[in-house]
Amino acid sequence: MGDIFTVASVTSSGRPVLVENEVECNLLSNVDLEPEDGTANSFVALKSGVLILTTHRLLWLSSAKAVGIPLSSITHIFSSKRSIKSVFHSPRFRFQVSAAVITVVVRGKGDWEVFLTKLWECWRARAWEETTTSVVVSRESTSSGSGMGSGGFYGSDGSVRMVGVAGILRKEQQMWESTDKSLQDAFQDLNALMNKAKEMVLLAEKMRQKLLSTSNSTNQDEMGSKEEMQDWLLSVGIASPVTKESAGALYHQQLSSQLADFVRIPLERAGGMISLIDIYCLFNRARGTELISPEDLFQACSLWEKFDVPVMLRKFDSGVMVIQNKAHSDEEVFARLRTLVATPEVIRTGISASDAAMTLGIAPAMAKEHLLTAESKGFLCRDVSPDGFRFYVNLFPEISPNDLHLVKDHGIYGAWIRAASVSGID
């Protein structure tokens, strides 16, 4: 069976890892793969898994196993025969991989006819060939563009090749023109945009490469904006969004897994906790066109409880909802907050939710939750004034009610007095 199937890698939450430019197209649940009776190259039947169609492969996933069949190895897809038998059977269709014929038995409720149509489309589209050719082309163009390729005045296509500054300028001009054209084409209508989506991703990738290669030479001012640009380009990029169309009834479950994979990096960046609103924006930006609704996001997050994923949805008493790492503990943030509040500057002036948010690198709403938690633990106390709502280190426990003027030299009360006297309040 090693001839027919390749091992497919999956993410920690059970989503397939796609190769470059590979896009998920359709999905059927509860599918068996059976060998055709009597064929020589037989294999053990695979029972009840999810069958995923991508532009490059057919992937069959179950909790225990994940295998793939490259579409390129499919030699024939049999048109499904409608017979009396098929009324009683589960729907099925067949295709041939080298000598073996595989029967797909659809036991789930998915629309297998649509799946089969898509399979035809993808098989004929031969997306796997495009990838390889485009790579070759881009290699050629970079070598000639940099002037390091084989010399001569004639390009591979026979046209006169410009050299020197004029050549570079013309190359640049050409590139701008083609970029401009693809942008214009892309915005013709939504359908066209969907078709262009892959090209846009490629374009983004190219721009990133270009930025990377030039970033060393240019001056300091441009560096900042370039880094920003890079960040921004990197954050574009779920090439294969799970859609209601492609996943059907399994939509929320698949979305939930995809989301679990997606949040890992933003979550790390945000210090282990991130608000649902932020994720909603990031996730939809990454998806590009196949946007999801807030309700779908919430559903997907709620499903995490049922699966073994490293993230969880948490609701604060105030109603604020956040996504946090299971490993992430309040203690850690609390400890960081404790150090922050103990600096002389903060001892003197206190800290607002937005200050804390900036210093800790988290969203203001979350910072406020942490501050309120610290307050309820008796570590901070509040100051409400026309200047706003601030938090101070709680000095009250340190002050002796029997002698109002007593100040112990050690301890936070003394530290506060010293900090306050620096500012000239005293």
Binding site: E375, R382, D383, P386, I399, L404, H405
Partner: protein, 179 residues
């Protein structure tokens, strides 16, 4: 050190949260306690008997840090004093508060020792004389609130230590000691 007249303010008077009513129970209890002590301390040294909630009261705002107590906070701190018997509301609307840095019983004891020290055991004095006479000069009785004085005298009258008799006007109410 910051001062209000000749009153030395504690350091925490410049601590902004001191002027915001705290929500967390334990923190608030401590805050209320500190306010009670400070109010009694201040009133004792400045001989202040009545605090009006709607009037300016030097302790209730701090110009240096630009903070002042809300009405809710003022009432909360004074109510805490009332519940401990160290203050009394003078009206139902809780707008005026009588501060008892000595309880009525303590005031009564002070009057008794004043009488004994001055050998007035069997003499007659007017109420006004007790507050502002030559004998009381320099003692705690000097400038004492009339309401508080009358209530202390009533306590002593009930114990048979003195008799209060009325003159023609409020000014010349008299006291006959019989200790």
């Amino acid at each position: 050190m910051q001062r209000l007249g000749d009153f030395k303010l504690p350091a925490f008077f410049n601590y902004p949260p001191y002027f915001t009513l705290q929500l967390v129970r334990e923190t608030r209890e401590k805050q209320v306690q500190l306010w009670k002590e400070l109010i009694l301390d201040y009133c004792r040294t400045q001989k202040i008997f009545v605090i009006g909630l709607e009037e300016e009261f030097p302790l209730f705002s701090n110009l240096v840090i630009e903070r002042s107590l809300s009405n809710e906070a003022r009432e909360a701190f004074l109510s805490a004093l009332v519940s401990e018997g160290r203050a009394e509301w003078l009206d139902k609307g809780h707008r005026k508060c009588l501060i008892l840095w000595h309880r009525i019983q303590d005031w009564a004891d002070l009057i008794l020792s004043f009488v004994k020290e001055n050998g007035l055991e069997d003499s007659v004095m007017t109420v006004e004389e007790i507050r502002s006479g030559i004998e009381s000069r320099g003692t705690e009785l000097q400038g004492m609130d009339r309401t508080v004085l009358m209530r202390a005298l009533k306590v002593l009258e009930n114990k048979g230590k003195l008799a209060i008799f009325k003159g023609t006007s409020a000014d010349d109410e008299g006291v006959k000691f019989s200790i």
